[in-house]
């Protein structure tokens, strides 16, 4: 205990140096923790989980996937057609739509475009990713929105970024005019609510029935011609399955079914689907993991090593006195390393904890759009990462100076003083 007090007192001896080292440590721990948080989140998204196991059904070859909506009726049953076939626990269909709030073609811009998915409101809470992570208050709010969406089929739930960009508020009305392949599909919505902050900031959702009813009504307004996407309006089907074995059964049922030949479909796990998209960013992520993070760790070690080296050089006489007083070389090493560790770990924990609060509660995530992901949060484990980074770098940075302190020759030091 006395030893700890001595270590802490030593840190207070040169407050300026301690503060500068702490600030340097803070900056670098912050970068490493943020990078780790992004990589951790992406690893989670591309790692198969035993709970909340989802299969994703899409067109076999082409991106974007476009399948007939008629596929949905049997796909949601996992294409089960014989006794003993496995059925999914739950399902969800996704139909994409892009529209603009601007009726005049000359004024269409990215600022007035809206990306919407048509879904069954009942599935929002049970199938959408991340709904299990909502706070009880957010969950209650989503339940209320879902209840409204079930009744009001012309309702739309919007992401926060989209609402802010369009300067719209809950309760207001909004008209969307179809763009690109969705030309001719126009909608009149009432904004029922907004998604919780985070991954759905850039997304809006409408009732599947409203989308399909507009699609069905298209020929009556266009001389009997079907909409070009009428037979290809289903983009993705998600199926919740209990485990790996059930997934393999359902995948085999669907991929061998004669119902899905034009176009053929494929089944993969959600994590594998996300992983395929993220493959394009593999070199960037590799760089974050194996270039940026180590560079930050080494830089931090150097900053700490510089501070500790200076401190050791200035305290040669003190170490000589300690040795004379009976301190063993190992205790001198512990003293120097202890100072670095105390500083590194405490600053690491404080920085990571501060970052957790700042990013998750005040900034509502860090924006780094990559693949499907727009916003990243610092997981609670990030605090442990901050501590580990502080500990690791302070240890690395202090070992050599500590060894120098250990080898201080009492006679030499006193000879110089004399």
């Amino acid at each position: 205990m006395k030893f700890l007090v001595l270590v802490a007192k030593n840190l207070r001896r040169n407050p300026l140096r301690t503060v500068l080292t702490a600030l340097g440590t803070m900056m670098l721990v912050m970068v490493v923790t943020l990078v780790w948080s992004v990589l951790w989140f992406l690893d989670q998204a591309t790692t198969q989980r035993s709970e909340n196991f989802k299969a994703i059904v899409t067109e076999r070859w082409s991106i974007p996937s476009r399948m007939p909506y008629s596929y949905a009726a049997t796909l949601r049953e996992g294409a089960a057609r014989a006794p003993g076939d496995v059925r999914p626990l739950d399902w969800m269909t996704w139909q994409f739509y892009v529209g603009t709030v601007e009726p005049s073609p000359q004024k269409i811009s990215l600022d007035n475009m809206v990306f919407v998915v048509a879904i069954d409101p009942d599935k929002a809470l049970t199938m959408l990713e991340g709904m299990d992570l909502l706070t009880p208050e957010q969950h209650r709010e989503m339940e209320q929105i879902v209840a409204k969406a079930k009744v009001n089929k012309q309702g739309i739930v919007m992401g926060r970024t989209q609402m802010a960009r369009l300067n719209k508020r809950v309760g207001e009305r909004i008209n969307l005019y179809g763009l690109s392949n969705f030309k001719g599909l126009d909608f009149e919505f009432e904004i029922l609510g907004q998604f919780p902050p985070g991954r759905y900031d850039g997304l809006s959702a409408m009732h599947v029935d409203y989308f399909n009813s507009q699609m069905d009504a298209y020929p009556s307004r266009h001389g009997g011609r079907k909409h070009p996407l009428a037979d290809r309006s289903l983009n993705i089907v998600w199926l919740k399955v209990p485990d790996d074995q059930a997934f393999n059964h359902i995948a085999a049922q669907i991929e061998s079914s004669p119902l899905y030949t034009s176009p053929p479909v494929k089944v993969e796990t959600l994590s594998s689907g996300v992983g395929t998209f993220m493959e394009a960013f593999r070199d960037l992520l590799w760089g974050l993991r194996w270039v940026l993070t180590p560079a930050c760790l080494v830089t931090l070690s150097l900053v700490i090593a510089t501070a500790i080296s200076i401190s050791v050089r200035e305290r040669q006489l003190e170490f000589a006195v300690l040795k004379v007083l009976g301190f063993r070389p190992g205790q001198i090493v512990l003293l120097v390393v202890g100072e670095a560790l105390l500083l590194g770990v405490s600053v690491g924990v404080a920085t990571a904890a501060g970052l957790f609060v700042l990013v998750n509660w005040y900034l509502e995530g860090i924006r780094f759009p990559i693949g499907f992901f727009d916003v990243f949060f610092v997981p609670p484990m990030g605090v442990a990462v901050g501590a580990a980074v502080g500990a690791l770098t302070s240890l690395a940075g202090s070992l050599v100076p500590a060894w120098t302190a250990r080898n201080v020759k009492v006679a030499d030091v006193f000879a110089k003083v004399a």
Binding site: M27, E59, S180, P263, L302, E314
Partner: protein, 456 residues
């Protein structure tokens, strides 16, 4: 920091050169103004060589990391800038900003090709290329552990390859273009005779596919690191043969596979056209033709871009990465600044008596400030130069990423990292800025020391 880095990066080499000259002039001015011999500062750095080295190494790492990150962005930027001909107009379906989602009716294509303004080849045919751009989700069962078992491949279905090559100004590096049929009979390694699809590959994707083969196939391959002309590969349930390799380095076509549209379209259920690219007399004619299509052409509603403008619009990812780099660099640099501050404060603290003596010898406060500032700048310069040298090792590395516009879509691209003089200049400027900021406060404190007090 974001806007500074953006200005330095997008402001062009001129801004960086100007700032570097300004920095050199400032250092020369400091040398001229400071009467304390430079040798004094340098000797002090050498005496404390371990601390000097540790601090300089921190600069080295910060500069090297920033330069490598910028090299990544520069590679992507060059790709978008290098793709497209200024005299070409790319036509998509109305409301589309990306060819991935476009769908053009054949009748519209025929009519647009015949419009005045579209150049014609020696046979009198319009210099226009009808294309179907498709992204195929292809299984890769041999993927190494930890890597996805599927990946996206970009295939451009072309009607007339020679006209397309003329419109895009692309040439073959090896092999030949695919035949008018787009397929050929071939004896496969298992001895069976089969019709295979001919593909012409960009060099980048040929390397990617070459490396994606399993260890056994790579060991047997002519070139284990790249698909060569005549090599076979699997795509959309068919066997393909590499008919040719395009000379398409530094363009997005480097990451594409070109094949006969009527062969590949039905394989993936995409039988129409996404894109029409037409050649006009030059950049001014291209702008006129684009405006004509968007404003005055009333037979069909289409979206037209000058081809270079279309690819330049695919910079959203590049901009996002640049912002991320700026933020990360800012924080790492601040960390480095605190490191150099520590070093310089220690230097000041150890040499309080020296400073007192210098003051008594008649050196002014400003000379003391300059002497310590120069020390800090020398550490920064040495560290920065080492960092720049280290980062040049990354020049030419192959990498993959996505380039995209604001409205989604995008292209998966293979490109090379570019460490150019501008990036090295930005690195050096960063190092000097860190040295200046980190050295200023300790130098200021040294300047304010009272000679009699420190010598007491």
């Amino acid at each position: 920091m974001v806007s500074i880095l953006r200005e330095l990066y997008y402001g062009g080499a001129g801004t960086v050169v100007f700032l570097l000259i300004l920095s050199v002039e400032a250092i020369l001015l400091l040398l001229a103004a400071g009467r304390v011999p430079l040798q004094y500062s340098l000797r002090n750095l050498l005496v404390r060589w371990k601390t000097t080295l540790l601090t300089a190494l921190a600069f080295t790492l910060v500069v090297a990391v920033m330069a490598v990150m910028l090299a990544f962005v520069e590679g992507m930027k060059r790709l978008t800038e290098g793709t497209g001909e200024p005299g070409n107009v790319i036509v998509l379906a109305e409301g589309n900003t990306d060819e991935t989602f476009s769908n053009l009716p054949v009748g519209d294509l025929t009519d647009i090709e015949q419009q005045p303004g579209v150049l014609r080849d020696a046979q009198g045919r319009p210099l226009a290329s009808r294309e179907c751009y498709m992204v195929i989700n292809q299984p890769f069962p041999d993927a190494p552990p930890g890597r996805p078992k599927r990946r996206f491949l970009q295939v451009r279905g072309i009607d007339d390859i020679e006209r397309a090559a003329a419109v895009h100004n692309l040439h073959l590096a090896e092999g030949q273009w695919f035949s008018p049929a787009g397929v050929e009979e071939r004896v496969l390694p298992d001895g069976t005779r089969r019709t295979v699809v001919q593909g012409v590959l960009g060099r980048g994707i040929a390397e990617e596919l070459g490396r994606a083969r399993g260890p056994q196939r790579r060991a047997q391959a002519v070139n284990p690191d790249r698909l060569e002309v005549g090599d076979l590969f699997e795509l959309a349930d068919r066997t393909w043969v590499v008919a040719g390799i395009m000379d398409s380095e530094a363009t997005t076509f480097n990451s594409e596979i070109w094949a006969k549209r009527s062969v590949v379209g039905p394989l993936v259920g995409k039988e129409g056209y996404t894109t029409l690219v037409v050649r006009t007399a030059g950049p001014a004619a291209a702008i006129r033709f684009k405006n004509f299509l968007e404003r005055d052409y009333d037979k069909a509603k289409v979206k037209a871009y000058v081809e270079t403008e279309y690819y330049e619009n695919l910079t959203q990812t590049t901009t996002q990465f640049l912002i991320a780099i700026a933020v990360v660099t800012f924080f790492i640099a601040i960390g480095g600044v605190f490191g150099v501050m520590n070093t310089m404060f220690a230097a000041v603290s150890q040499r309080r008596r020296d400073i007192g003596v210098l003051r008594l010898l008649g050196y002014g406060r400003r000379q003391i400030l300059v002497a310590f500032l120069l020390e800090s700048l020398v550490i920064a310069l040495v560290g920065g130069l080492l960092g720049c040298a280290l980062s040049t090792l990354a020049d030419g590395w192959s990498a993959t990423s996505v380039i995209s516009g604001h409205a989604g879509g995008g292209k998966f691209v293979v490109f090379r990292l570019v460490v150019d003089a501008q990036i090295l200049g930005v690195g050096l400027l960063l190092a000097l800025a860190m040295g200046l900021i980190g050295g200023l406060v300790p130098a200021w404190s040294a300047m304010r020391l009272k000679p009699l007090e420190v010598l007491r």
